[in-house]
């Protein structure tokens, strides 16, 4: 279904959803940093900056309680967190590189174990994607087969058009329901041409070739030169829309506490540190190798896709300037 929505009506739509008690998550400023988060009103939305962290946290929060416990005398009580309490959510203004990562995560969280914390939030969320009109030289969605206009992962996709407003296209029943429930705010397509899309400059990678090299170069001196400067923080993984490792810890006292799930990262020394004291990934290049292998080989082996959508966040914010696009390009030329 194709429609048109004016700038004003988009604002009205968001305010109406909020007034109806829906949770509207969108990019907005949080103590000076652009982040996705609950919108108080439509005026707070910030659409001209890529949020620092990706949209994945809508489904996979930085930290969440998954259980709580209490102990009184000999009596122990355990309380589950019920996914039924998750609010219905409209996630708005999602960049194509963020939206495309969501179906990628679906595969991970529903493969052997069904992660209801992720999946229930997913079920209750409608995703409104937004085409990009600006890119910088860290953006490389086009190099991994996506584009600034790719609707992958979006239920409803908005493209800014000349003269203001957005062309809307629905891709799923959820997207159609959102439009139908607020039909008065949408108009028939007005034929105005789309504003010029962003043009990421990176050349398309030959991902088959990259994978073929990774398939038989687990051991290679190149890993040392690629990763010797990596300092082993979690910045790249935490900002990434597709990274999904987590840790589970119990926090609290003997009397009361919570079991919590929070983000983890393969760059950390502790990530593979065994209880025996042995660490199979003892040096940073081995940890960085895992990052590349997971994104361009292991995930592909298992799910037939790449675990990178080219958002460029890890490039912009790596403390030591490690550039995944440059590394993939280097590998593809081997």
């Amino acid at each position: 279904m194709q429609k048109f929505i004016s700038q004003q009506n988009l604002g009205r739509l968001l305010d109406k959803l909020i007034a109806d008690g829906k949770r509207v998550i969108a990019p907005r400023m949080d103590a000076g940093t652009p982040l996705y988060g609950p919108l108080a009103d439509a005026a707070g939305i910030v659409l001209d900056q890529l949020p620092r962290r990706s949209a994945k946290e809508t489904f996979f929060p930085v930290c969440e309680d998954i259980m709580s416990y209490g102990k009184e005398g000999q009596q122990v009580t355990l309380r589950d967190v019920s996914p039924a309490s998750f609010p219905e959510t409209i996630l708005v203004g999602v960049r194509p590189c963020d939206a495309a990562a969501i179906p990628v995560l679906d595969a991970v969280f529903s493969w052997d174990y069904q992660d209801e914390f992720f999946l229930e939030r997913r079920r209750r969320t409608t995703i409104v994607g937004l085409a990009c009109t600006q890119a910088d030289d860290a953006c490389f969605c086009t190099a991994v087969g996506l584009s600034p206009a790719a609707p992958k992962g979006s239920d409803l996709f908005l493209t800014p058009v000349e003269g203001g407003g957005y062309a809307c296209e629905t891709f799923t029943g959820k997207g159609e329901a959102l439009v139908n429930n607020h039909g008065e705010l949408f108009a028939e397509p007005n034929g105005a041409p789309a504003l010029p899309l962003a043009e990421p400059q990176t050349e398309k990678f030959d991902l088959k070739k990259v994978k073929a090299w990774l398939d038989d170069h687990f051991e290679d001196p190149a890993w040392d030169s690629i990763a010797v400067r990596c300092i082993g923080c979690g910045a790249c993984a935490f900002l990434c829309p597709a990274c999904h490792c987590f840790d589970i810890v119990d926090e609290g006292t003997e009397k009361a506490g919570k079991r919590r799930k929070s983000w983890d990262a393969c760059g950390f020394w502790k990530f593979t540190h065994h209880a025996s004291g042995h660490n199979p990934r003892d040096l940073q290049p081995k940890r960085y190798r895992n990052r590349i292998m997971h994104k361009f080989k292991y995930y592909d082996d298992k799910f037939g896709q790449t675990l990178c959508t080219g958002c460029g966040r890890c490039i912009r914010f790596c403390p030591v300037g490690i550039d995944i696009a440059a590394i993939v390009d280097e590998i593809s030329k081997k």
Binding site: G32, T33, V228, G234, W263, F317, P319, V320, D329
Partner: protein, 307 residues
Amino acid sequence: MNDNPIDTTIYAAVTEAIQDEARRILSEGSVSAVVGYAAARRKGSAQPVVITQADDAGKLIFSAACVNNLAVYLTKAKKEIPKAGKIGIVVKGCDLKALVGLMGESQLKREELYLIGVPCAGVLASTAQPARELTGDTIAPKCRECDNHLPQGCDFVPDQRPVTLELAGKYSAEIARLEAMTPAERWAYWKEQFKKCIKCYACRQVCPFCFCEQCLCDRNKPQMVETTPRPAGNTAWHIVRAMHLAGRCAGCAECERVCPMDIPLNLLNRKMAKELKELYDYEAGFEVREKGPLAMYDEKDDQSFIK
């Protein structure tokens, strides 16, 4: 707003001098490796590099994007860097303080280093957009307060002399603003900041003084501070870190630069430095000292806080 460009024309000559010197010491065999900066893919960008061959000396550069404090690569925490024999390292004046501090803490020996000092007019605050021009607006806040544009005590410093602008300091003004707040207001400010922390530990990993092989904050048997990114554990983490770095922090501001959540971490460290100056007349600096004020006891120390 201060979009006056800062003169970085000397950086081309500095680059050349660094390359020549690295080539000379590597081919002579007087060092086994040189830690420096190399150009990267994005326009104007730079990244740390370790070279071991004289033929690779041409890769070295110095530009406004050379923000990293490379001292982190010489600590125990970086086991990947070859440590055999003497190591050459490219240092800005601000980074030199960290090397001196590490010598005082017996992490490095002066005779194992070959210091290539950089005449520096300033570097960028952020490398998220490396192609930006160096101006009064884009310069790193630490450069506004720099007193060491021409490093002293190095083995080699190129001949160039940097031209610097007079810029108003940012940290002292920010600290004064925070000090003027009531404790409740100050607490509210930091709570808001710490709330944003995602425990990515980039601040720890980039810090030359966070070289502990096992950080207290990584302990899980028993857990010493809550490891999850939530207000309680975040606050504990930042207080532990501020205390651990008091009197040690070299002020390189790397922790603050790399924080993806824009938390002004250097304010904490600079505030601690100010307290140490007032209480113990102590400053981390360019003199190798064996003990910092929080690692030794002196009967003349202020006792008034012990109740």
